[in-house]
Symmetry: C2
Amino acid sequence: MDRLFNFVGGGSGPWRVTSIKPVTGDSLSPVDRLAVLGGAESHPSETRLPLGGRWMLRGVVSNERYVTHGEREELRAVQPPLGRETSLLAALIPIRKSNAWWGLAQDERRAVMEEQSRHFRMGMKYLPAVARKLHHCRDLGEPFDFLTWFEYAPEDASAFEELVGLLRGTPEWKYVDREVDVRLIRD
Amino acid sequence: MDRLFNFVGGGSGPWRVTSIKPVTGDSLSPVDRLAVLGGAESHPSETRLPLGGRWMLRGVVSNERYVTHGEREELRAVQPPLGRETSLLAALIPIRKSNAWWGLAQDERRAVMEEQSRHFRMGMKYLPAVARKLHHCRDLGEPFDFLTWFEYAPEDASAFEELVGLLRGTPEWKYVDREVDVRLIRD
């Protein structure tokens, strides 16, 4: 199950936590460091908290649910990989969406995300500055529905804040009923 | 996690297994009976095989991925519940779809399923005779991607065979790379 990733907040890991802020609903407990465990190291049935961990959030990289073939081609042409040397900053933003969201049909969710909120179109403007990876967790029985991981260079920090601010102002975000914003630095 | 269901093949359960046939790829081991455990009895992290079980397939009832609002309204108007007194027969059909399928974008998968294969439109013709419930399992690290459970009365058995035969002849089914057909009777 090499598509599963475990985000472990605690005392170890290559990322130092600089802030944990509740945006909507409950926050996560404060921790010093974050480790991202993935691939052969994890399976959905393995939910034990690793030694030294205070919390663990799990998510699966899954098939794309909304973008069209054309949009995906546009994205792929400019999407950067994770792990760039210049990407000293990162953000882990877990969100949960409301029952009202999950009760919408596919075409209705797509309309809110793109036609009304321009989610992908907006994100595209911040590529390749901000690398992004989406993990799904609603069907794993997790407290959040999505874990999005972002990586960027210090000189792109203000662009990243702009992107996050714009997204939070969209009609799509009215359906977000829990959100935490975890910021990190690689040291 | 009341959306998770475990299908346990073994020596106990209210359903007697009348046949297990591999349609594409490997079959499942023969068993006498099937139990469907759900709701509070199950969690994605709980993967122990219950006592007396020979195999267990797990799936989550998730949000709808393809039907539009209009299609869903049409479906809801005629969809029967599970557990009808007359539904003495059932089928559990686990399928896995190929990497080629999962590599398609959302609009491409929708086009294969509905515009080319008429999956929902076709299924609608067999409502309310055939009750259906879809469980997702690809992101749980399971051997199949979907588990579909069907229930129907003996007098609708030929209608059910017709539906299954039609679906297997669609362009969508070219993407199915493993399929097992388990038939059951409630006794």
